[in-house]
């Protein structure tokens, strides 16, 4: 008889079950694809769930126009390789108003380009379920969110009025206009994700690996000079350092860490030996106390 299932095999099975349940119960699901490592794992699990068919839903990327260039290249390549439709949505209203992380501050910028952009896309395509790669270990308010997380017609999350979620029986009932955010990786930790990428040899954006890149030091973070839109402030200097990214987002808001970890085992090794948690590289979480909870209530993923 086969040995007992390992923790990764159990997590994988749970996620596949969740993904299939959504496809079976919803009319118009979509997978939010953020191009990061969690999205990579989620997409891989979706492919496994429906093999030999491709996943029967499109990918949606809410493009803030400030993503790393390598992320965009990687995104287009993966969608093509997996045989999936890729929907790229940009909040054109935000763009036309010139909203940028430099001019509007990270909080307002994120709200307009990400949260508003996401809502626009969900409304435009009338998706009734949207997969997201969030994990409960990332942030305190996420620890309490359901795997099938109900959103009102205004995309709001009500943390005090969540549906009880028992066994693996997910309540997928919604009224027109309402939707469900689904988090198949809820029970994965950062280490689980890395280990799984390692075991399954899942492709990830090269930015996760250390390389010499041009960076400037700003507000205590190392920001990569990914294109000409990053204007140096007085006293700032472009330095070439061996850096990598523990998390990927908009380049002006995503801090690099100095590192020489250029292979997956080295990345995992580095992660295990450091004592700084993952989302610290993102500016947006530190804006105000309980800031993620606030963003989520407003519809941020």
């Amino acid at each position: 008889m086969s040995p007992n299932l390992t923790h990764l095999q159990q997590l994988e099975a749970e996620s596949i079950h969740i993904i299939r349940e959504v496809v079976a119960e919803f009319a118009n699901p979509v997978m939010l694809y953020s191009i990061g490592k969690d999205s990579a794992v989620m997409l891989h699990l979706a492919r496994k769930a429906f093999y030999p068919a491709p996943p029967p839903f499109p990918l949606l990327h809410v493009d803030t126009t400030w993503k790393f260039r390598e992320m965009i290249q990687f995104r287009d390549r993966m969608a093509a390789e997996c045989g999936l439709d890729l929907i790229v949505h940009v909040n054109v209203e935000g763009v036309s108003r010139g909203v940028s992380p430099f001019t509007h501050g990270s909080a307002l910028y994120t709200d307009i380009m990400k949260t508003e952009g996401l809502k626009q896309a969900l409304d435009k395509y009338k998706f009734d379920a949207a997969f997201g790669g969030a994990r409960r270990d990332e942030e305190k308010s996420r620890a309490k969110e359901r795997i099938f997380s109900f959103r009102s017609a205004h995309h709001r999350w009500d943390p005090k009025n969540q549906r009880p979620e028992l066994w693996n029986l997910y309540n997928t009932r919604i009224k027109p206009g309402e939707s469900i955010r689904v988090f198949p990786l809820s029970n994965w930790t950062e280490l689980d994700v890395w280990q799984y990428i390692h075991l399954q040899q899942i492709p990830i954006v090269p930015l996760y690996y250390a390389a010499v890149r041009p960076v400037v030091e700003r507000d205590g973070m190392l920001i990569m000079v990914d294109d000409e839109r990053l204007v140096l402030e007085p006293g700032e200097q472009v330095q070439h350092k061996s850096v990598r990214f523990r998390t990927l987002g908009c380049y002006p808001l995503t801090g690099a860490v100095e590192s020489t970890a250029d292979t997956l085992p080295k990345i995992i090794q580095e992660m295990l030996l450091t004592r700084t948690s993952e989302r610290q590289g993102r500016l947006i979480d530190h804006d105000q106390a309980g800031s993620m909870e606030k963003k989520k209530q407003e519809g941020y993923f």
Partner: protein, 558 residues
């Protein structure tokens, strides 16, 4: 994790290899308000070094600002995620936490102690294998301790840790510890836990959490973490008869038709014979398909895609099952129901019943009784209100495949959904799925236990209880492959005497004999008919012929 930091530094690949074989344990912590649950979990996270520097910095700031430990580190703040909770100083919803040691990954459900949030505890417990029940050493057992223990047993958790906390506040008094344990063992005896492990702890100071404490030289059991790392949770689902609720039919092109789902019980290999629970049609497994290649075998817990050797009609909602021990198809399951919603249960109202295989409209036809969670006594109630637990009889729109919950959590559980608000209003656990109550507990014994046992007739007790329903009762024998016999109760005869009729669905005409014999022995009538390949018998009591028979027996003659 801390123990292996040397290996991580020196040989990361060896470390990664060692982590591949880790198992997963899900447990729940429960107890009353202020018993120190959040502090305990915070401590476990802390001591397994899963707290990172920036979280620590935030924790220090928060501890000074809103902490309850006079500015010292307040571990509870690691967990109280929602702002509202911080303000009220209580945990108001289930939170899931993760930590990991060299041996295991742990998923912890932290559940509230407040009485009105029982629903969250049931939610957290539904996926847990072990429960850590906290008791304040100064207070002993409370109403909530009893309630939580009962809920834990109800949702099928077999291993309980009685974590007697705040031992530092009773001077680590052995007598106090033992007297609480004695009280608890007495209370929990009827709950049928496989093991109760009492551990004297101080979550705040760390006594007996990670390592044995010097303050309790009289205690020789494991520290809490050591227990959690080593407790063996019996996982016998893979030895049970095969169960595969079909989630999705994968048909990318005409040459491929795969059935996707998660194996709920048993083990499967190509060539194994299966049957569709609803139709009884059989086929064999052709392939077990995964993206990493076909598998020679798959076991309970794995999410796979099966292809079969025959083209038979199977869709989402069907269950594929072992042919020698199929699940019960029932329209009238009896179940424990935990009511989760402010608006009380309305018997007779249509709800949606979501099971492992399907969503079926159904109603509660009768609340047999409610359970007083403090005394475990049964009480008669018209309905169930928020946080009430009872035993009910359901009537479903169509037969659904079930196993008893005690045998299989996946195929024995269901939720009720309100059709209008879409709220999840109740959690259900099937006690008995059969419309006919079998005299022997055949569903819990291993399949094909002995050759001799196979040929003993299966005995069914027919009672009014077993066929209750608002319309014609149905006794489904199509799942029975061996000899059967019936035992008829007075209430069953009374039920027929009132003009009620029972439909027997037979697998084949051979099953007619025991039904006919029963009818003969109890002066009942039956009508016989075929529909497609099924045989139906309607059993009833004809008042007139009964009178005639009566006359004949008493010398009247015909």
């Amino acid at each position: 994790m801390a123990h292996q930091s040397e290996l991580i530094e020196k040989d990361i690949l060896a470390y990664l290899k060692s982590q591949e074989e880790k198992s997963l344990l899900r447990f729940i912590t429960c107890g009353s308000v202020d018993d120190g649950k959040s502090t305990l979990i915070g401590r476990l996270l802390w001591d397994s070094k899963m707290i990172f520097e920036d979280q620590l910095a935030a924790l220090e700031v928060d501890s000074k600002k809103v902490g309850t430990q006079g500015g010292a580190i307040d571990y509870a703040l690691l967990l109280d995620g929602l702002q509202a909770e911080r303000e009220q100083g209580i945990t108001i919803d289930v939170a899931y936490r993760f930590f990991s040691t060299d041996r295991r990954k742990f998923i912890v459900a932290d559940t509230p102690g407040h009485e009105q949030y029982t629903r969250n505890m049931v939610t957290g417990a539904s996926t847990a294998q072990v429960a850590v029940i906290l008791v304040d050493a100064r207070k002993g057992l409370l109403t909530q301790t009893r309630r939580h223990s009962y809920l834990v047993s109800l949702v099928g958790i077999r291993h309980v840790v009685l974590a007697i906390n705040k031992m530092d506040l009773v001077d680590f008094d052995q007598q106090r510890f033992e007297s609480i344990l004695r009280d608890y063992e007495q209370f929990a005896a009827p709950l049928g836990f496989a093991s109760i492990t009492a551990i004297p702890i101080s979550a705040l100071n760390g006594d007996n959490i990670i390592e044995a404490s010097d303050n309790t030289p009289w205690y020789h059991g494991p520290a809490l973490l050591n227990y959690l790392e080593t407790v063996r949770v019996e996982d016998d689902t893979r030895k049970q008869p095969f169960r595969f609720p079909v989630q999705w039919v994968n048909r990318p092109h005409l040459d491929f038709r795969g059935f996707c789902g998660t194996i709920a019980a048993g083990t499967i290999r190509p060539g194994d014979e299966l049957q569709v629970a609803s139709s009884g049609r059989t086929s064999r497994v052709a392939r077990i398909v995964t993206m990493n290649g076909d598998l020679p075998e798959a076991v309970a817990g794995q999410a796979v895609t099966l292809t079969l050797t025959d083209e038979i009609d199977i869709s989402r909602g069907d269950m594929l099952a072992a042919t020698d021990a199929p699940p019960r198809l029932s329209r009238h399951p009896e179940a424990h129901l935990v009511w989760l919603q402010d608006e009380a249960l309305q018997p007779g109202k249509i709800y949606l019943v979501k099971t492992a295989t399907a969503v079926t409209p159904g109603r509660v036809t009768r609340v047999q009784y409610a359970v007083d969670v403090n005394t475990l006594e049964q009480k008669q109630v018209p309905a169930l209100g928020l946080n009430e637990i009872g035993v009910v009889r359901l009537e479903l729109d169509r037969p659904v495949a079930f196993d008893p919950y005690l045998q299989n959590r996946e195929t024995g559980s269901f939720i009720l959904i309100d059709r209008f608000s879409n709220a999840t209003v109740a959690a259900g656990m099937v006690i008995s799925a059969a419309p006919l109550e079998s005299a022997e507990a055949q569903l819990t014994e291993p399949p094909s236990s002995s050759e001799a046992g196979r040929f003993l007739p299966r005995r069914f007790i027919l009672s009014e209880f077993s066929i209750s329903g608002t319309e014609m009762g149905v006794a489904d024998l199509t799942r029975e492959w061996g000899p059967i016999e019936f035992e008829v109760s007075t209430s069953f005869l009374d039920y027929l005497g009132k003009g009620n009729r029972i439909l027997f669905r037979l697998r084949d005409v051979g099953q007619l004999e025991p039904v006919a014999r029963m009818a003969y022995e109890h002066n009942l009538n039956f009508e016989f008919g075929r529909d497609q390949d099924r045989v139906n018998v309607i059993l009833y009591q004809d008042q007139q012929s009964s009178v005639a028979l009566h006359a004949e027996l008493h010398g009247g003659g015909l």
